[in-house]
Structure formats: structure tokens, C-alpha cells
Symmetry: C2
Subunit: 371 residues, 2 copies
């Protein structure tokens, strides 16, 4: 693990760059706002820890009312459980004998929930749990429009659920019904239409399961782009937003119900960068390239610099259009990542700042936990 880019008590100007910096006031407000929404809506909050990969943040979320967290990988779950997180759902498939044996073992250390869309891995998991003398909750992932993983809603989901419910050491716990791409549909109407369909298909599946004696304790899904829809559906029992803590620049390209940029939460995560070269008119070069922010949702935005634009980047350089030549050597720029989750995964440390001072250093506990 690399050295932290700052020490607690440092001034913001002393942070070595590029660094992953959290505005703690905005972060705290985001965390409280989502917890408040879930409490008011009467839905359980299980935030997605693939966003932050941090045991510190997961434990804060739980202290503020979350029932647990999601993660996406076995290795993430192992890292979070080892750091004391008591309740983890892997919102993904886990396949392969070695991983399944490890999953059964970690299920002996905390509450674990895992998704399935094929019976064979669950048969192996049942056997692994027997060998490890553990048990685990399993939810059936249904494909509600993402066309990626999951069995179709309705009869195929029922068939798999019945098979899982019959397997010893596994507890059939419900359904996972997440529509990832809908989070980034640009208009409210498109998101509303997609999630209306998701809710209808999920409700029909849950009803079908109930007819066959299978109760769904967990009806889970939802992300930062649609959480109010699933959260107030009266159907979902758990919502799983992650990005709300930080807010991707990309969410600002969505429109809310009022037609304005979708901004239910404030940007709290930045890549702090330094101008390291200024030799050409109209541009400046920062020390932050795509080894410090992810590009899958586009270039980062320059916070508070309407005329400044990251126009290109390489591994360790970011070229900023600076038409008025306002940037000088050693100036700092605050970049808003296009997509926070994979940006966090590039860093070993969150530097939490408040009032111009470094208040916290949180390790990215599960960074690089890929399997």
C-alpha cells in the first residue's frame, strides 16, 4: 500500500497530488440525507460498498442506520468482514470451487448474502457450507432489463428459487432486481418508465414465489439514479445506492423531474491535482492523468473553473484548456471524476478535509480485491 499523500492536521495546500480528497461536510450531508430518505420511506438501506471499498465508511453507514452493505466481489467481502463489517451482500455471482469454498468460510464470520442465476454454483455452495459448517443467504438475481446477468423474471426465477430453497445449508432470502443502465438514462421520464417496468416484473415474480411458499425477505436493487422510485415502491425492502456519497460527474448529465441537472446530493469527492507544466498558451498540464481518475464515464470536470476543461490525458498528465491563461505553475485544481467507483479503486487513501484541514485518512480497504 502506498504512502498516504498527507498527514492528519496538514493544510489542504500540503496534500501531495494527485490525491483522492473528500469534502467531509458534503460527504456527511449526503450520508445523512440518504439515511433520512430510507427511514422516511420505510425501506432498509444497504449501500453499495463497491463505490468506496472502505471498511471505515461502511461502518459509518451502518452506524447511521444502514443494515449492512453490498459489495461486488468475494475478495471485497473478505476484506470488509475482516475489518469488522457484520452484514455483507455480494450483489453478484460467485463461481468456481476455490471461491465458493472461501465464500462458505467467510459466511461463518458475518452475515453473508450472495446472488445466483444458475443452480450449479449454489449446489457447490451448499456442499461447501456443509464442509465449513456454515450457512448463507442466497437471493435469485433476475434480469430486469440490464441484459447482463440474472434469470428471467417469472417462471425461470421460480424454478431456480425452488431449487435453492431445497438445498441444505442455503437460506433462500429473496430476489435481486437491479437495473444498472437505467441509473444513467438521461431524462426522468426514461428512468421512471424503466423502473416502472422493473417494479412490475419484480412484483409479479415475488407474487409467484409467494404462491409457491417462498417469501422474499430481500427484494433488493436501486442505485443513485433511481433510488426514490424503488424506495417508495412499497415492494422493495432494500435499496443499494452507492454513488450518492460522492456523486459522479456523470450524474450531472441526468435531468431531474424538473428538467434541471439531477443533483439530489452534492459532489464530495475530488481528485486534487497540481499544474506541473505551463509552456504553451491556452493550456496547462496537471499531474493527474488516467492513473488517478477513471475515464469510462468521460473526462473529469474542473470544479469551480467554468472556462477550464480537461481536454485530453495520458497516464500521468492531464491537459487542461485554459483559454485565459489563468493557471500558473503549482496552482491546484479540483477535479470531479466522471465515475467515482473506478476512480476510488485507483487510490490507496481517502484524504478527508474540513475547513481547509486534513481531518481523516481512510484506507481504501478493498482496493484491488478483484476475485
Amino acid at each position: 500500500m502506498s504512502e498516504p499523500p498527507a498527514r492528519i492536521g496538514d493544510g489542504v495546500d500540503q496534500i501531495l497530488t494527485p490525491a483522492l480528497v473528500v469534502d467531509l461536510d458534503a460527504f456527511d450531508a449526503n450520508m445523512a440525507k440518504m439515511a433520512g430518505f430510507a427511514a422516511e420511506a420505510g425501506v432498509r438501506l444497504r449501500p453499495h460498498a463497491k463505490t468506496h471499498k472502505s471498511a471505515d465508511i461502511a461502518l459509518m453507514q451502518i452506524a447511521e442506520g444502514a443494515v449492512g452493505v453490498c459489495c461486488q466481489k468475494l475478495a471485497e467481502a473478505e476484506a470488509l468482514v475482516a475489518a469488522g463489517v457484520p452484514d455483507v451482500m455480494i450483489s453478484n455471482q460467485v463461481v468456481g470451487a476455490a471461491r465458493i469454498a472461501r465464500l462458505a468460510r467467510v459466511a461463518g464470520q458475518a452475515r453473508l448474502i450472495v446472488c445466483a442465476d444458475d443452480v450449479r454454483p449454489t449446489q457447490a455452495l451448499s456442499e461447501a457450507c456443509r464442509a465449513a459448517d456454515t450457512g448463507i443467504d442466497v437471493v435469485v438475481e433476475i434480469d430486469v432489463g440490464q441484459n447482463r446477468c440474472g434469470v428471467p423474471p417469472g417462471d425461470p426465477a421460480l424454478g431456480l428459487a425452488l431449487e435453492i430453497a431445497a438445498l441444505p445449508h442455503l437460506n433462500f432470502a429473496g430476489v435481486q432486481a437491479y437495473h444498472g443502465s437505467a441509473q444513467h438514462y438521461r431524462s426522468h421520464a426514461e428512468r421512471r418508465a424503466a423502473i416502472d417496468g422493473v417494479i412490475a416484473e419484480t412484483r409479479a415474480t415475488v407474487d409467484l414465489l409467494a404462491e409457491h411458499g417462498l417469501d422474499c425477505d430481500i427484494i433488493g436493487g436501486a442505485g443513485t439514479g433511481t433510488f426514490k422510485m424503488e424506495g417508495t415502491s412499497g415492494l422493495y425492502t432494500e435499496i443499494q445506492p452507492g454513488s450518492y456519497l460522492f456523486m459522479d460527474a456523470d450524474y450531472g448529465r441526468n435531468k431531474g423531474e424538473d428538467g434541471q441537472p439531477y443533483a439530489p446530493f452534492a459532489n464530495s469527492l475530488f481528485v486534487l491535482a497540481t499544474i506541473m507544466s505551463k509552456t504553451l498558451p491556452g493550456q496547462a498540464v496537471s499531474d493527474a492523468g488516467h492513473k488517478s481518475y477513471a475515464l469510462d464515464s468521460g473526462m473529469p470536470l474542473v470544479h469551480g473553473g467554468p472556462d477550464l476543461e480537461v481536454v485530453s490525458c495520458s497516464d500521468e498528465h492531464g491537459v487542461i484548456r485554459d483559454p485565459e491563461d489563468t493557471l500558473k505553475l503549482e496552482d491546484r485544481v479540483w477535479l470531479i471524476p466522471g465515475h467515482c467507483d473506478p476512480t476510488v479503486n485507483l487510490h490507496d487513501w481517502f484524504v478527508g478535509v474540513r475547513g481547509g484541514t486534513v481531518e481523516t485518512l481512510w484506507p481504501v480497504t478493498a482496493r484491488g480485491c478483484l476475485f
Copy 2:
């Protein structure tokens, strides 16, 4: 640092995925071929360690004849020097008082070379070296067409070189003349034309410096796309290719002098992935998304699977077009990253395999060393 995805002696089938896997036979051949080229051309080889960030690999390259390595960041240099690498060039600007003080300190532990394109950081570096009782080699970076960092060739380069040469504790060591974008110009003729221009501008600058009594021990640059051109120019004294060890999928989109795909080296680096979901006809979903390979040069290619194509991915999922439905749950696929450097930076371990067995585990020493 996350747990290695395999143990030495494991079979390839036992590697937990996604994992960064090196085909050691191809890797060894690539390393030897470039060392052989440099020896034959009579040019010093200083491979770029931003590709691998590994002290183990850097020391192997030096054992095979390299004079040292390049890196791109102070923190990378610190990590490599701490692991015993004796000669490191930071092929980049280093600015800011804290970084400059650290640079002066690490210059007391190994031979260090750094680039400059502005006199102010070098004045600060001179003072920091005085305080640390060290010295450091400084090269002037000239902008030979990348339009990013560097002073213009000719008089501006001379002016900066004279200022640096006059500063105590700094040794003016030469020029850095690297044209990064030319590495990926698709035709040989385009690359040849660009590098002819680079060589002409660099030669004129070096001659001008000589007229003013400044000798360039280092005339450095070149990458995997153009190394033969700079290496046989009679001008360059050091070539700095990095990707040749692994070969990005993107280099296969270049054409060689013969019009065939540019492949002076073999692909030796793969992201090994497992099919974790197969619920829709015509596609399979792997456990490797863009948290395990970089997307800046496009999707990874599926090795040995001409009909298989990674058509989309998210953080932890890769959707593979599988028109004949040949892939089954738990099958392995070997992915060739579009761009190896930022892909390596996502992993903590190289898993080196030979003859179907895990032979080595190399930590990615400087992973996440961003500042």
C-alpha cells in the same frame, strides 16, 4: 496490498480471477530482444518502468543490460530506489516544495535524473539539494511534437539549459525528446515522418547546446512504436521503451513497414477471467470489468477467440459476444489489454506462468504511487 490470486506452484487453472498473468516465455523473449537491439545499435537502454511499476522487473532489465529505468512520478522513484534500483530517471516534471525536498533526499540514495521545462522548480531543487547535501542530474525536456510539456527546441531549450547548468548541486545532463503520440500513429510512414522531425529538431538543439559548451550525455526518448528509429539515429544515447515487455493490444492496430500489424514483440500480458454468468444466448459474462483492465485504448481482445469479443463492460462485469455459444460457466478467457500500463496499475500482483504452472509472483511495487 491485496492477497495474491495464486500461489507459486499452482496450476494455471487454480489462479483466482480476474488476475494479471504474464506468459514468462514470451516476456523473457521480449526482454532479450530489446536488449539485443540496443546492444547491436550501440544505444543505452533505459526501459520505462511506468509500464510495470515492478522493482523485480526493473532489476531483471538492468541485469540484462539496461543502464537503469525511467519512471513518471517521484513516488514511483522512491518505491523503486527503496527496493534497490540504482539508477532512475523521472521522465517528467517535479514541482512543489514538498516533492522537491523529497526528490533531493532520494537523490542521495541512487542516481536520479529529472526533467525540467521551467527554471523555477530547478532553482528550488538546487536549494533542496544543498540542504540535503546531494546532487542530481537534470535534463531539459523539449517539446518535439507532443504539445504537452517541454520547452520549444532551439533557443528556449538553450536558455533553460544554461540556467540549469549555472545552478549549484545540479548537473546538466542532456535533453529529453519524447514524442508519445507518434508511438500510435497507425502507418510506418506517419511514424517515420514524425520521428524524422523529432530527430532533426533534437539534433539542432543538441548542436546549439554544444556551441555553448553544454554536452548532452543523455539524449533520451523513444517508445515501443518508434524505438528503432531513435535507436539507430546516431543521435539518441538512451531509448526508453516500456510496453515492449507486454505489448498492448493497441500496438496491433499500428502497421509495420511491411503493412502488416506491427508486432515486433509478442503479447505476454493477459487479464485472466472466468465466465460467471451465461443466461442469454449469444453472450457470456466474465468476472473482469474495467476495474481489472484499462479502457483508454479500447476494450481488451479475447486471446485465441476470433469469434469472441468484449462488447461492453462495467466495473466488475465484461460482456462477451459469443455467437456460437461456445463459452460455458466457469470457462477461462485470456484477455489482451488495450493498454498495459494503466491495466497493470489496477493490480497488486503479476502472476508469472510457464508451462501451465505459476512460477513467480511479483508485486506491483509502485502501484498507486501517484505523487
